[in-house]
Structures are given as C-alpha cells and as structure tokens.
Amino acid sequence: MVRLPYTTALTTLFSYGLLFAFGQLRDLFRKLLDWFRSKDLKGYAPICLGLEDFYVRRLYLRIQDCFGRPIASAPDAWIDVVERYSNDNNKTLHRTSNSTKCLNLGSYNYLGFAAADEYCTPRVIESLKKYSPSTCSVRVDGGTTQLHAELEELVARFVGKPAAVLFGMGYVTNSAIIPCLIGKGGLLISDSLNHNSIVNGARGSGATVRVFQHNSPSHLEEVLREQIAEGQPRTHRPWKKIIVIVEGIYSMEGELCKLPEIIAVCKKYKAYTYLDEAHSIGAIGKSGRGVCELLGVDPADVDIMMGTFTKSFGSCGGYIAASKEIIQYLKYTCPAHLYATSMSPPAVQQVISAIKVILGEDGSNRGAQKLARIRENSNFFRSELQKMGFEVLGDNDSPVMPIMLYNPAKIPAFSRECLRQNVAVVTVAFPATPLLLARARICISAAHTREDMIKGLEVISKVGDLVGIKYFPTEPPKLAKEAHKKPVAVILP
C-alpha cells in the first residue's frame, strides 16, 4: 500500500496520456510515410503483431540509457559504469572506452561477497584449477561432482530442511520446478506481486492459477474457501492439490511476507506452501537463515523452500529444499536436472565458502559481522531517507528500499542526475511495476561503509530536491535529535 499526493496521481496519469498520444502520433506518421514502401515479407507473418511492441518502441527506447548500463568491474560497493552515447536520440547506444567509478546502490550484493573475498576467492580459484569452469555435462550424466553433493547437504543444513537440489540458474529453478510439482487439475494460488519466474512456471504447469491480494492472509483465506467450494472449473470435482506460492522479500516492494499468518491459513485448509526466498536467504534473520528465522516460523511448516545463490552468496544458480521424498522425485522428473548443464564448479565452491563464512565455520566471526552490518546499514539508510521526506517502501530490516518516483519523467531525470554525480541507482518502471508506481530501487550491502552511505544520502537528497520527489514533509534536524519518534509518513506493511 502506498500513499501518494492526489495531484501527483493526476499529473502522472496525464503524463502517461501525453506520452501515449505522442507515441500514437509518431506511429501514425511512420505509417503514412511508409505507405508506399513495399513490404516484402516473402509470405512470412510479421514478427510483431499490431500494437505489441508499442510500449518498447515509443516509451522504453526513449529512456533506454537508464537501463542496462554495462559495467566494467566487480559489483562491489563501488562499481565502474561504462559511458555510452547515442547519435539518434537513444534508439541505438554506443559504448565508449571510458568508465566512471560510481557508488553502487543497485546490485543485490547483500553480504558483500560479490567482490574478492579473503576466504572465498582463493578456494574458488583452487576449484577452478581442479574442476575446470564447466562440467560439460548434465547432472545425471557426469555433472555431479563432490562439490555439488557437498553443497546440497550444506544448503539443506543451512535452511533447516532434510534435503536439497541445485540448479544452474535462479529463474529456471522456479519455471522448471513448478510444472513438475503440479499439473492439470491442480490449483496454484500466488501472490499478486510474485516474480515473473513464478508466473512463467505457473503458466507452464497447466494448473489453474488464482491470484490473491498482495500479502493479505484474509484475502488468501477468501480465495481458498471459494476455490475449494467450487472445485475444478466446469467439472467441479475436488482439486488434486493446492499450492500457495509466496516470496520472502518482494523485490519491488522491499517488504516481508506475512509468513506466520499465511502458513496458519494454509494449514487450516490443507494447502501446500512454496516459499521463494530469492532475496531473503542470507540477508535477513539473526544467522542469515532467511525470513523463517526472522519471523519465527519452523522450516518444517513450509513444504518447499526455494532460493537463489545470486543475491547474498555472490554466485549463480538456485536451489530447492524440501523433504527427502520430494527432492528424490524432483531429481527423477525435473528437466532442469535431467537435461540442463550442472552448476559451474567454481560457482558451487563460492557458495560453499560463503555459507561457511556466514555460519562461522571458517573459524572467524566475519559472517556474524556482515549480518549485523547489513541490518544496521539498512535501518540507518531507510530512516535517513524517511527523515529527508522521501517515500520509502519496505519493512525495517529489509535491505531493499524502493523510493517512489511516480511520474514517468522523473525516472530518467533521477537516474541520469545521480549518474552525473557518480551514484549508480536502478530505476524501475512499467511493466515491472504498476503503471502509476514507478520507483528507484536501492539495495544496501554489507560492503557499504558509513561514509559511502552518507555520500549516497547527500547525492540522493540533492537530486531529490532537483527532481521533486520529497512527497512527505521532512523532519527538522533539531526535532530529530530530541525525540526519536517515527516520521510523519507511516509506511503500512
């Protein structure tokens, strides 16, 4: 739930209307100018049908330089962003050979493992020499090395489940597993703001998909009751199985899922639960075990826990952790296990070393320090931004904080001005977010020092004044020192 000034809603709708009108006018002129040009398709159908690529051509390409910026270094707290220029108003971009060092507020580098680490990197290089960059084989053929077996055990122990299975890509973990778990005659109930990989997997499974209002256990209960009473569409037979899919931290909102209540509802109606912890594993919880630890939920209550290694562990790939029977079944049926190349061994070693650091099994307390630092950093940054008057979403302790921009013109303004002042931020617009609610998403990492964050805050404050996104009243500095009360803007969970 976001709170926006009424005039902002009006102006945002009007801006989108204007952009749409200009896009349509340009399309009309293009059609008129190309009227007499022969369209030699040689009997093939056109690639794009009708209006399909309108948004990409007329809205996205205009501000293309704010997205997909190439980088030239590891995504640590400071990152080298390659400069680009365009000669035809952003339709094509050309790279130069210069790069600027910017403060990195966009990478999901929650625990700081993205750059060279004193424990992980030597071991990764050793495994690279021993096992080579690729196993050149699928898991069932010759692609399961000792490292893979070790990591599966380690992940299962870390998350608190009996067994786990690994996959080479995080997106594929969702989109290839969900069709294996459920098929026609089953029901999938997913949160309305779930990630595209889950939507993709749900569509590919053939099961009926229903959506419940974001993070609202009461609406989930309503949907469950309605669906169980009605049964399958047309035949009204009982559902073969019902799986409810939620995420730990929603990457566009930065808020935690209401896991205890949702699990209670699912247990009442005997539905299975699938928890996608892509952003929360390793980043929250006292020992980094994710949203279950933070909210006090027993991992045995969640049927299937999924996560990725890309965010907190600095590697690539994903995992599924569940009971031994489910994992055994998945190893026999999942195409991502049977036909896809196994995870690269150095990447596996990186995750093993990262988990060992987090658990403290490397013999130092760097893991605990990192976890404490990311919690401190996130809370500090979020409270400072709120004091400055920005509208920041997300719960406390969550390292993801979106700053609301709303107006489509503020997206490139914020992004380009921050880049000019050497701060790299990620801005997100439609269709990844709802139309009105464009935002800039900040991801805080344990690698950010206090000075980095203060510099980031200064730049964001200056740019925020220029662009005009301080929608809430700011807290005057002397009042902030006297009373540590919450600022005027209340962000509802």
């Binding site: 009424y6 809603a9 709708l13 009708g50 399909e52 309108f54 309305s192």
Partner: protein
Amino acid sequence: MAKLYVEAVPPADMNKNTEWFMYPGVWTTYILILFFSWLLVLSVLGCSPGMAWTIVNLFHFAITYHFFHWKKGTPFADDQGMYNTLTWWEQMDNGKQLTRNRKFLVVVPVVLYLIASHTTDYQHPMLFLNTLAVMVLVVAKLPNMHKVRIFGINAGN
C-alpha cells in the same frame, strides 16, 4: 483541500493494460482532460462555446472509439498475446460487466452529449453528429455487445 493524500492499494488485476484504470485519480484526470481540451479548442479556433463542445465531443468519439473499441490486444508482449482478440473495453475489469468503472465510462459520453447539444441550442447539423456519436459509443459499451463483432468487422487478427 479535502484529501491531500490518497492510498493506492495495488489491485489484483493481472492485465497490465487495464489495471491502471483502477487507481485513484483516473476519473478526475479524464474529466479534467476533457475540460482543458474544450478551453484549448475555444482559444485556438475562437468559435462559439457550443461549437467547441461539439468539436470536443466528436474528437472524444473518434479517439475513444478507436482505442477502446477498435484496437485489440495490449501494447506490450509480456502476456504472450492472451488478449489479442479482445478490445480494451472487453479486457476492462477482467470482462466483468456493469462495474463502477464501466458505468462511469458510459456516463461520460452521455453527459458530453447533453452539454454539447444544450450549448448549441439543438441546431442541425451539430445535433445529428452529436447524437450519432453518443449512440455509437453507448451501444458499443452495452453488456450484450461483449465480444460481438457485427458483420465480422474487426474480427480479424
């Protein structure tokens, strides 16, 4: 100012082409755009207010008919062509008829017609054109016309 801030709850509508219509402020923006375009027409053309309302009504007819009832599909490829045979009006509110948004969108052309015909003192030929516009728009929005293609017009992909 009565309500300075509004709360926007993200609606559980999966179709991104129509979910923007469920946010606060859409109705007001629509009415304000109509009002300001009337002022624009008045200032640019310098005609009588009635003539300006007629022009606004006819442009409104052309634009809303084209985008609500003629163009099919969505402006992005993410939904993989699920709505390629449905016009925007048919996609609204997931196909549910007689919702608040739909009723509002039926009332607007009727009110525009009343204003236009009143300010032109019911003279021809403006009256004829205005009546034609409102009849086509209202018939197109009736619940019985959901997914109906008369004589196969606009039925092609």
